[in-house]
C-alpha cells in the first residue's frame, strides 16, 4: 500500500532501520570476535613460541657450555615438531652460528640484535632468547624465526565465515523487518492518506480506522476526534458567518469594512450604497479617502496615524463625507478593529446626522435671535416703563395743581356764599369738595405708586416690630371710636428699604382697619407663618368683609377694586403699590379670603439673619 502510487517512504525507512541495525550489530559482534581472535591467536602464537624457545634454550646450555655442536644440533632438531619454524640457530657469545636447524640452512644473524624475547617482526615470529645455565653467565643466544601464515589463514577463514553470517543476517533482518514494519507503517500510511484527502477535498467527514491501543491507536483516535471537532467548528463558523453576513447586509445604517494598510473598502452593505450613491463594486474599487471632501483628508490622515484604543469606539468628532452626487453629509463614526481574512481591518458604522446637525444649528440660530429679541423687548419695556413712570409723575404732579385750585376755590366759594346758599347748593359744593379730595387722594396714591417704581431701594436692616409700632398712629386714624383687637406677634428683623416697607404695613394694616369697620370687635392679627425659601412669611388677618376668591387675581391690579366705593373708600392703588414693593424686595404676596369671612394677606420678606437651611421654620 502506498500513498498515491509512490513507494512508501516510511515502509522503506522502517525496513532500512531494522536491516541497518541488524547489520551494524552483526558487524560489531563479528568484528569484536574477529579482533579477539586475532589478538588471542597472536598471543598464543607468541606463548607457544616462547615456551618452545625457552625449553630448547634450557636444553642447549650444556651443548653451548661444552661446545658440542653436534649435541646442539640435536637439541635444535626438536624444532621439527613445530612445522611453522623456518629456521633456528644457537649463536655463540662471539656472534657466530654455533648450531643450526635445519642442517644446511643459511642463517644471517641480524644486526643489530633484535629485542630479547619472542616478538612479531612483520609477519614472522622471531625469538631471541639468551641461553644461560646460571643467571648472569650467558652461554649464547637461541635465535629462530617462525611463520605465521597459519594464523592468517585461520583469520581469513574466520573473516569469510563472518561475511557469510553477515549476509545471512541482513537477509533475515530484511525479511523479518518487512513483515514486522507493517504494524507501524500501515496505520501511518492510512493516516497520511486520510490527512491528504481531508486537506485536498476539505471533507471533514473522513475517519481513520483505529488500531487498538498504544501510541498509534492514540494517534488515530486523536486524529479522528480532531476531524470531528473541525467539522463541528466549521459548521458553527458557517452558521455564525451567515448570521453576521445577514446583520451586516441588513443593517439600516451604512456599514463597511476597510483594509487598514491600503485603506481600500473590503465590504459594504446595502445601506452604504444607498446612503452614498455608489454601487458595491464601485465602493470596492475605492479607498476611504475618496468618500471625503478634500478638506477632511488631512484630519483623516492624522486620525489614521494615531493608535486607536481597543474595542468599539465612537469618534469624538463628526466627519464630513462626500456622496457620489457631490453633496456633503455629516456622519458620526463608530468603529471597531478586527481581522478580515488575514488582514488587519476596521469595521465602520456611519450614522448620517446631517439633519440633526442642521437642526442644532437652526436651534442655536433661533436661540440667538430670541435672545436678541428679548433684549430688544426688555430695552423697549424698560424704556416704556421709564416713560410711563415719568408720565405718571408729571401727570400726577401736573394734575395736583389744578386740583389745588379747585379745592381752594371751592372752599373759598363755601366761605363766600356761607348762609346764602340753599341746602341743595351746599350739598352740591360738599360733593364737589369730597370729589376733589378723593381725586387728590387718587393722585397722591398714583404719585406714590409711580415713586415706588422709580426710587432705588435703600437696603438696610429693618426691625419690623419697631416699624409696625411707628405705623400704628397713621393706621389708626379715624378709628378711635372703634373697638379693634390687635394681635401682633413678635416680628423678625428683615432686610429692606424702611420707607417702602413702612408703606407696605401702612397699606395693609389700613386696609384691615378699613374693611373691618362693620365688625365689633374687629380682629386684626399680624404674625409670621414660617419661612419660604429662606424668606419669612408674614401675614395680616382680619375678620372684615373679605373678598370672593374668584376675583383674587384682580386684587393687586392697579385701580382694581372689589368693593364699591360707597361701601369702602379707596383708590384701588394701595395693594398694587404693596405688590410692587414686595416684588422689588424679591418676595411674593398673595391673599386668601371669603366673602364676609375676612381676608388674610401673606407676603415674604428676606430675613436679616437667615437661619441655616435645616433649622426649624420660624413660627
Amino acid at each position: 500500500m502506498s500513498v498515491r502510487g509512490k513507494p512508501s517512504v516510511i515502509r522503506r525507512r522502517l525496513i532500512w532501520v531494522i536491516v541497518l541495525t541488524s547489520t551494524v550489530v552483526v558487524v560489531l559482534t563479528c568484528s569484536a570476535f574477529f579482533s579477539y581472535q586475532v589478538v588471542t591467536s597472536r598471543r598464543s602464537m607468541l606463548a607457544h613460541a616462547t615456551t618452545l624457545a625457552r625449553a630448547i634454550a634450557a636444553n642447549s646450555t650444556a651443548a653451548l657450555a661444552f661446545e658440542n655442536p653436534t649435541d646442539a644440533e640435536e637439541v635444535l632438531a626438536a624444532f621439527k615438531a613445530d612445522p611453522t619454524v623456518e629456521f633456528a640457530a644457537l649463536i655463540g657469545t662471539d656472534g657466530t652460528v654455533f648450531a643450526r636447524y635445519p642442517r644446511r640452512v643459511a642463517i644471517i644473524v641480524p644486526t643489530p640484535a633484535p629485542a630479547e624475547g619472542v616478538h612479531f617482526y612483520g609477519r614472522k615470529v622471531v625469538a631471541w632468547i639468551p641461553v644461560a645455565q646460571n643467571r648472569h653467565l650467558q652461554l649464547g643466544t637461541l635465535y629462530f624465526s617462525a611463520e605465521t601464515t597459519e594464523l592468517y589463514d585461520a583469520l581469513l577463514v574466520y573473516g569469510s565465515v563472518s561475511v557469510l553470517i553477515l549476509v545471512l543476517a541482513m537477509t533475515i533482518a530484511y525479511v523479518i523487518g518487512r513483515a514486522l514494519q507493517r504494524q507501524i507503517s500501515e496505520p501511518i500510511l492510512e493516516l497520511a492518506q486520510v490527512a491528504a484527502a481531508v486537506s485536498e477535498r476539505q471533507d471533514y467527514g473522513l475517519r481513520v480506522a483505529t488500531v487498538g491501543d498504544g501510541e498509534l491507536g492514540q494517534l488515530t483516535t486523536t486524529f479522528n476526534d480532531m476531524l470531528a471537532h473541525i467539522a463541528e467548528q466549521t459548521r458553527s463558523l458557517t452558521i455564525s458567518e451567515g448570521r453576521h453576513r445577514m446583520l451586516f447586509e441588513n443593517s439600516p445604517l451604512p456599514m463597511w469594512v476597510y483594509d487598514l494598510a491600503s485603506r481600500r473598502f473590503l465590504a459594504v452593505n446595502a445601506a452604504a450604497t444607498l446612503g452614498y450613491g455608489y454601487s458595491a463594486s464601485e465602493f470596492l474599487a475605492m479607498t476611504i479617502d475618496e468618500i471625503r471632501p478634500a478638506s477632511e483628508r488631512p484630519a483623516l490622515a492624522q486620525d489614521m496615524a494615531e493608535t486607536p484604543p481597543t474595542g468599539i469606539r465612537t469618534s469624538p468628532r463628526l466627519w464630513q463625507h462626500l456622496r457620489k452626487d457631490g453633496t456633503t453629509i455629516v456622519v458620526e463614526i463608530t468603529s471597531h478593529d478586527l481581522r478580515f481574512g488575514e488582514r488587519p481591518a476596521r469595521l465602520v458604522l456611519a450614522s448620517d446626522v446631517t439633519s440633526r446637525v442642521h437642526a442644532e444649528q437652526e436651534i442655536r440660530r433661533l436661540n440667538q435671535e430670541l435672545e436678541e429679541r428679548v433684549r430688544q423687548r426688555t430695552a423697549q419695556l424698560e424704556q416704556a416703563n421709564r416713560e410711563l413712570e415719568a408720565f405718571s409723575y408729571s401727570v400726577s404732579h401736573d394734575l395736583r395743581a389744578p386740583l389745588r385750585h379747585v379745592q381752594g376755590y371751592v372752599s373759598m366759594l363755601q366761605r363766600a356764599v356761607e348762609g346764602q346758599l340753599p341746602d341743595r347748593a351746599k350739598r352740591y359744593l360738599k360733593t364737589i369738595n369730597d370729589a376733589s379730595i378723593e381725586m387728590g387722594q387718587l393722585i397722591d396714591d398714583l404719585l406714590e405708586f409711580s415713586r415706588m417704581g422709580r426710587t432705588e431701594i435703600r437696603e438696610s436692616t429693618v426691625a419690623l416690630d419697631h416699624l409696625v409700632h411707628e405705623c400704628m398712629p397713621q393706621v389708626n386714624v379715624g378709628s378711635a371710636d372703634r373697638r379693634i383687637d390687635w394681635k401682633i406677634a413678635p416680628l423678625p428683623v428683615v432686610r429692606g428699604d424702611p420707607a417702602m416697607l413702612r408703606q407696605v404695613f401702612v397699606n395693609l394694616l389700613s386696609n384691615a382697619v378699613k374693611y373691618t369697620r362693620h365688625r365689633d370687635p374687629a380682629l386684626i392679627e399680624l404674625a409670621t407663618a414660617g419661612t419660604e425659601a429662606q424668606r419669612v412669611i408674614c401675614f395680616i388677618r382680619d375678620n372684615g368683609a373679605g373678598f370672593d376668591m374668584q376675583y383674587a387675581h384682580k386684587l393687586f391690579g392697579v385701580f382694581q377694586r372689589l368693593h364699591r366705593s360707597d361701601e369702602f373708600e379707596g383708590t384701588g392703588i394701595g395693594l398694587a403699590t404693596v405688590r410692587r414693593i414686595i416684588g422689588r424686595h424679591g418676595g411674593r404676596i398673595w391673599a386668601e379670603g371669603a366673602v364676609d369671612k375676612g381676608a388674610t394677606f401673606y407676603f415674604t420678606l428676606a430675613l436679616a439673619n437667615p437661619p441655616p437651611p435645616d433649622a426649624p421654620p420660624l413660627q
Binding site: N59, T61, A62, A63, A65, F66, E67, N68, D71, E74, V75, Q133, N134, H136, L137
Partner: protein, 189 residues
C-alpha cells in the same frame, strides 16, 4: 751472531725463521686456547653437577676447584672463575702439588703430570663427592669421572657415570648429552 751477521742471512732464511716463529706462536696459542677451553669447562662443570647435601657447609661456602700436579692453566682458570658463582657458591682454586697434598675440594683436575698418582688418589677419594677431571686417554676407564678429549682442535668430553654415582655426584642430563658416556674397564668403578 753479530747484527751484521743477521743481515747477511738470505731473505728465504728470514722467511723461514718468521714462519717458524709464527708457527711456534700459533702452536703456543693453540696450546693456550685448549687450556682456556678446559678452564671454562671446569667452571661450567660446576653448573651441571649436583653435589650431595653435606658437600657444602652452607649456601655461601665456596666451591673449590682443585688442581693436583703441575698447573697447566696458567691464568686461564683464574680468569674463568674470576667474580663468578656456580649454583650460588663462590669459586676458589686450590693447588695441590702432589696427590698426598690433596685436601678438601669439589672438583679436582688431575694434571697429566700427576696422572701416575691417580689410582692412589682414587683410593683416597673413594666415595668422597669430588668430581675428578683428567686429560689422559684412559682416565675415565680407570675411574675418573670426566675426561677432556681434544681432537681436531675441539675438546670433547668423556664421562664415567658409575664413577660419578660412586662419588654421590649427579651429573645433569644436559652435560651427559653433550658428552660421551663411557663404561669403565672391568674391575674399575
Amino acid at each position: 751472531m753479530t747484527t751484521r751477521g743477521l743481515f747477511l742471512l738470505s731473505t728465504r732464511t728470514w722467511l723461514v725463521v718468521v714462519l717458524i716463529l709464527l708457527g711456534g706462536h700459533r702452536a703456543r696459542a693453540a696450546l693456550a686456547n685448549e687450556y682456556e677451553v678446559k678452564a671454562l669447562f671446569l667452571f661450567h662443570f660446576a653448573e651441571f653437577v649436583t653435589w650431595p647435601p653435606g658437600a657444602f657447609r652452607d649456601d655461601r661456602s665456596p666451591l673449590v676447584i682443585g688442581i693436583v700436579g703441575e698447573d697447566p692453566f696458567g691464568r686461564s682458570l683464574d680468569d674463568a672463575i674470576a667474580g663468578e658463582m656456580a649454583q650460588g657458591h663462590p669459586l676458589v682454586i686450590a693447588r695441590f702439588p702432589r696427590a698426598q697434598d690433596v685436601g678438601f675440594c669439589h672438583i679436582l683436575y688431575v694434571s697429566p703430570s700427576a696422572d701416575g698418582e691417580f689410582d692412589e688418589l682414587r683410593a683416597r677419594l673413594r666415595q668422597r663427592p669430588v668430581l675428578t677431571v683428567g686429560d689422559t686417554g684412559d682416565f675415565v676407564r680407570r675411574g675418573g669421572i670426566i675426561r677432556f678429549l681434544t681432537s681436531n682442535s675441539r675438546t670433547h668430553l668423556q664421562i664415567n657415570l658409575s664413577a660419578a654415582r660412586q662419588a654421590n655426584l649427579i651429573i645433569s642430563s644436559k652435560l651427559l648429552q653433550a658428552a660421551d658416556v663411557v663404561a669403565p674397564w672391568k674391575g674399575h668403578p
